[in-house]
């Protein structure tokens, strides 16, 4: 045990060599105690010091009082996945301090509030107790706000111990409070006071340091839900029907925030969109289908329980062929599960949502940048293929803070798909059939309601219909229609974003992954490479699976499918798509509610390869 106050300059395990820009910090607090600002300030300051970082919130399904953790990872090598154990703990919660400290990496650091009444219990960790209450007085804030200031204390102490630049902390506060000095000042005062206190009272006894570098120049920092909302806005979303649910709520709220700013007609000052909070998810998707049918780029966002409720409408959209975009920001588990924990458990569900031979294109963004890109691309695909398109994000990618290159402006005009206008109909003499496959891609031409031509109308239904959208129960009509729908699905396969491959010469084993596990795979590959194990990597970006996946699997002896769920859902789809390669594919799935770590992957692969 080493408590700095009691013993000067201890030599904790692993000290000696300074460890620069390469550690994880866990901040353990109580929910609703206002630590977000402090956490974000540290994160941003490190980021602006040029150090690659990521910030992840591990929070409970609660508004106030339950334990919550925030982790910040700084990595000179640019690895941003979660780590199993942090090197640095900021302990602000009495209820969890003992367990939290227990989980620290050996050689780590524990900065704790002396108000916790905690007695350090490990020898291999450096402990710094801090008089949080006293120091937070420096802010001059009172009452509820004082609680917020208490969190600034840890920021100051941390800055002092690690060498975080005070200027960058101030900038970060300015950025967060949008330059409002009145908000910035008291907080900054607290930071400085704590910084000074630490400088005077704490003897640095750990190896962790930060140093300015230049690895984040030009990069942005954002969460996936905001990125998705922006993508949708640049994709021209004009109708949103949604219902609140964690962790998808912030996507709709980002739409609510940015739409007025980006999509108000400069002349009329009127919105070029409509957002309706529905009474539930059945209604949300119903509205979206109504709007998509009438010609809007329409979307909704939800999570597991909402997806379940959307089943019937999803099948309707598939069969009546209505464009729609549905974001599923996945959370943990069957039923209500754990609303504030991450999982990739809805792969099979969204792919086959509905009943009676339904299937949907599913996009799989692997980064915030792809959240933006798929945010607009999903509309092109949905309108081009005239079908609901799902986008599977998850809590980790959606709600956590990620560095990214700035987003690229859409590189092509909108594809509004096959729509016949009044003029087209006049040219055709009104001869057309809603579900006629003229181009062989399975996609028919549609008209929008309101088209001013006496033959423009057709009747949309979820019951059997023929080429002309007429009701039919004829067996041959049914078969023809289902065959065309399958043809259409092949069109979607070709149009959907292709996987991204990194085939490594001489690699016997390979990874397939998707979504938020990307960062952990990248890091795991680097670790394995360091041990001499070469690996290839294919990152899936959409369902139906690209045909190229088979080649990739064939090129390796064993391919591990990395995913965050219990039933190895993507593995199952891969096996179905390439039955002849089924036995070359192996499950590397994990599902404990937390973002995946490189360590878990590395250890699992080593075990399986042994």
């Amino acid at each position: 045990m080493s408590v700095v106050e009691s013993k000067a300059s201890p030599a904790p395990v692993g000290s000696g060599q300074p460890i620069v820009n390469d550690f994880s910090i866990t901040i353990g607090t109580k929910n609703g105690s206002g630590s977000q600002t402090a956490n974000a300030t540290v994160l941003r300051a490190l980021f602006k010091m040029g150090i690659p970082v990521s910030g992840k919130n591990l929070f409970p399904s609660n508004i106030q009082g339950l334990p919550t953790w925030y982790t910040i990872r700084a990595s000179k090598d640019g690895f941003v996945a979660r780590r199993v154990r942090a090197e640095i703990l900021i302990a602000m919660n009495k209820a969890t301090v003992i367990e939290d400290a227990q989980k620290l990496e050996s050689g780590g650091v524990c900065i704790y509030s002396d108000a916790l009444g905690y007695t350090p219990m490990r020898d291999d960790v450096t402990f710094y107790p801090i008089p949080v209450g006293k120091l937070s007085s420096a802010s001059g804030l009172e009452g509820k706000l004082k609680g917020y200031a208490e969190n600034m204390v840890y920021v100051g102490v941390l800055a002092s111990l690690l060498g975080i630049e005070l200027d960058e902390l101030k900038n970060a506060l300015m950025w967060q409070f949008k330059g409002k000095a009145k908000a910035v000042e008291p907080n900054y005062q607290t930071i400085v006071a704590a910084f000074e206190w630490a400088k005077e009272n704490l003897v640095k006894a750990d190896p962790f340091r930060v140093e300015r570098m230049d690895k984040t120049t030009g990069m942005i920092m954002i969460d996936g839900n905001t990125a998705a909302a922006l993508g949708a806005i640049y994709g021209g979303v004009s109708f949103v029907g949604w219902y609140p649910i964690t962790p998808a709520t912030s996507l709709a709220e980002a739409l609510d925030f940015y739409l007025p700013r980006l999509r108000t007609d400069p002349e009329t000052k009127q919105p070029t969109y409509s957002v309706v909070q529905a009474e539930d998810e059945l209604a949300a998707l119903g509205m979206v289908l109504g709007a998509g049918w009438a010609g809007c780029r329409a979307m909704t966002s939800t999570s597991g329980p909402g997806i379940s409720l959307m089943s019937e409408f999803a099948g309707y959209g598939y069969f009546a062929e209505i464009p729609a975009v549905i974001w599923d920001v996945q959370r943990m588990g069957p039923s209500t599960g754990l609303p504030t924990r991450v999982s990739q458990g809805d792969v099979l569900k969204t792919y086959w949502l509905g009943h009676g031979d339904t299937k949907h294109p599913v996009l799989l963004p692997g980064s915030v940048k792809e959240c933006f890109e798929f945010g607009w691309r999903a509309f092109d695909l949905a309108e081009r293929v005239q079908t609901p398109v799902f986008v599977l994000s998850d809590l980790d990618i959606g709600m956590n803070q990620w560095m990214s290159d700035p987003f690229d402006y859409p590189d092509a005009p909108m594809d509004r798909g096959k729509v016949l206008t009044q003029e087209d109909l006049e040219r055709l003499g009104g001869k057309w059939g809603r579900y006629r496959d003229l181009e062989g891609d399975g996609v028919g031409w549609r008209t929008l309601p309101g088209t001013d031509h006496p033959l423009a109308a057709y009747f949309t239904r979820g019951t059997g219909h023929n080429e002309n959208a007429q009701y039919t129960e004829r067996p041959d009509d049914w078969e023809t229609n289902m065959e065309r729908l399958n043809r259409k699905f092949e069109t979607a396969r070709a149009l959907a974003p292709a996987p991204i491959e990194d085939r490594v010469e001489g690699a016997e084993i390979a990874f397939i992954g998707y979504g938020s596990v990307d960062s952990a795979i990248i890091e795991a590959r680097s670790r394995l490479a360091a041990k001499g194990i070469k690996t290839s990597y294919l990152r899936l970006r959409a369902l139906p699976l690209s045909e190229s996946v088979g080649d990739f699997v064939r090129a390796h002896d064993r391919t591990y499918v990395v995913e965050l769920n219990t039933d190895a859902q993507m593995l199952q789809l891969l096996r179905l798509d390439t039955p002849e390669l089924a036995t070359r594919l192996f499950a590397l799935n994990h599902n404990d509610g937390l973002p995946l770590t490189a360590r878990w992957i590395t250890e699992a692969v080593e075990k399986m390869e042994a």
Partner: protein, 346 residues
């Protein structure tokens, strides 16, 4: 199979004959109340010279919900899911503000599975005509009780209903509906007038029409039967509808009639018949329904109208151009704006 509404030869202001408003041949049972309502919708749209192309027809699932196929073939139709027509209609009429929404639903579709969406549609005041073809029974699935079935009502297979009925007009009023009417499929004149008034109303206009199911619920004792309707229907308010392009020529005593002006300049003249009722008074409307219920009376007419509620299009401040018609230049913000955003996130 019955072809609903025979042509008349006359043309309307659009130069169209009534045949232009017809739909496919009905596949409902001979004599089904729903078919006569389809004919009334045809009449109303013809008489108001509504351009079919601007109408969007919505329905859920049921015999009633099949009806949109049997009127206005020139209009787009959306036969949605059981009980979920309101959501679909909401999306569509918001997507294109020029659309005139006509929804047809059943008592099961609206009162049983669909009561939640019904209430929320009304709460949002989504502009559309919402017709309930109320027969107190599930027709299409062959005769189970719906939520509007009378207590004590008997059906061949289902036995005797022991639950109280939901009154869909009262439900609409409770949800703040601004246009609530009740009628009877056997009263063509009144149905036509009410449909016409509803078509000019800006907001959700609910018309609960008793529409007998001749196959499963037409016993004389049933309050949803033809014979019961014929002998009991009591017109409480005579609503004369005067389109904006016609002058008000009717003469009426100011103490027995009220005139309501609608947003498009049309008028509804409400004439009290016999009993005291003020259709612009919400509490009176509720009272009327409650009293009629207590006395087992079947009152018809425009029960309540409030032409002042903002509809969802107003609330959402929709632009003049339908959202569905906005060009890419309105939909996709500039490259510059993205660059600025990115800068701010650095």
């Amino acid at each position: 199979m019955t072809a609903v509404s025979a042509p008349k030869g006359k043309t309307n202001k659009l130069g169209l004959e009534k045949t232009a408003y017809r739909g496919l041949e009905s596949t409902l049972c001979n004599g089904c109340g729903h078919d006569s309502i389809s004919s009334r919708i045809i009449d109303a749209c013809f008489e108001l010279s509504i351009p079919s192309e601007r109408v969007a027809k919505f329905s859920g699932i049921g015999c009633s919900s099949k009806s949109p196929a049997y009127f206005l073939s020139r209009s787009h139709g959306f036969n949605s899911l059981h009980g979920r027509m309101p959501a679909v209609a909401t999306g569509a009429v918001m997507a294109n503000r020029t659309l005139i929404g006509i929804g047809v639903s059943g008592d099961g579709d609206t009162g049983s599975i669909g009561i939640g969406q019904f209430k929320h549609l009304i709460r949002r005041n989504v502009p559309m005509v919402y017709i309930i073809e109320n027969n107190g029974v599930y027709g299409l699935t062959k005769g189970q009780f719906s939520a509007t079935a009378d207590m004590g009502q008997e059906l061949k297979h289902a036995g005797v209903n022991e639950l109280p009925p939901i009154d869909l007009c009262l439900e609409a009023l409770a949800a703040n509906c601004g246009f609530v009417a009740r009628s009877f499929a056997g009263d063509p004149k009144q149905v036509t007038t009410l449909v016409k008034a509803a078509l000019s109303y800006k907001g959700t206009a609910v018309i609960d029409i008793i529409s007998p199911c001749v196959t499963f619920n037409d016993r004389d004792e049933s309050t949803k039967s033809y014979s019961w309707g014929k002998s009991h229907a009591e017109r409480i308010i005579d609503a004369t509808f005067i389109p904006y392009y016609e002058e008000i020529t009717v003469d009426y005593e100011p103490d027995v009639a009220t005139e309501v002006e609608l947003h498009d300049g049309s008028h509804i003249v409400l004439k009290k018949l016999g009993r005291e009722h003020d259709s612009t008074n919400r509490l009176a409307a509720i009272q009327l329904l409650e009293e009629a219920k207590a006395k087992q009376q079947f009152i018809t007419g425009l029960i309540y109208i409030d032409e002042h509620r903002a509809d969802l299009r107003d609330i959402e401040r929709l632009p003049e151009t339908p959202l569905a018609h906005l060009p890419e230049s309105s939909l996709r913000p500039s490259k510059d704006s993205l660059a600025k955003l990115m800068e701010a996130m650095k």
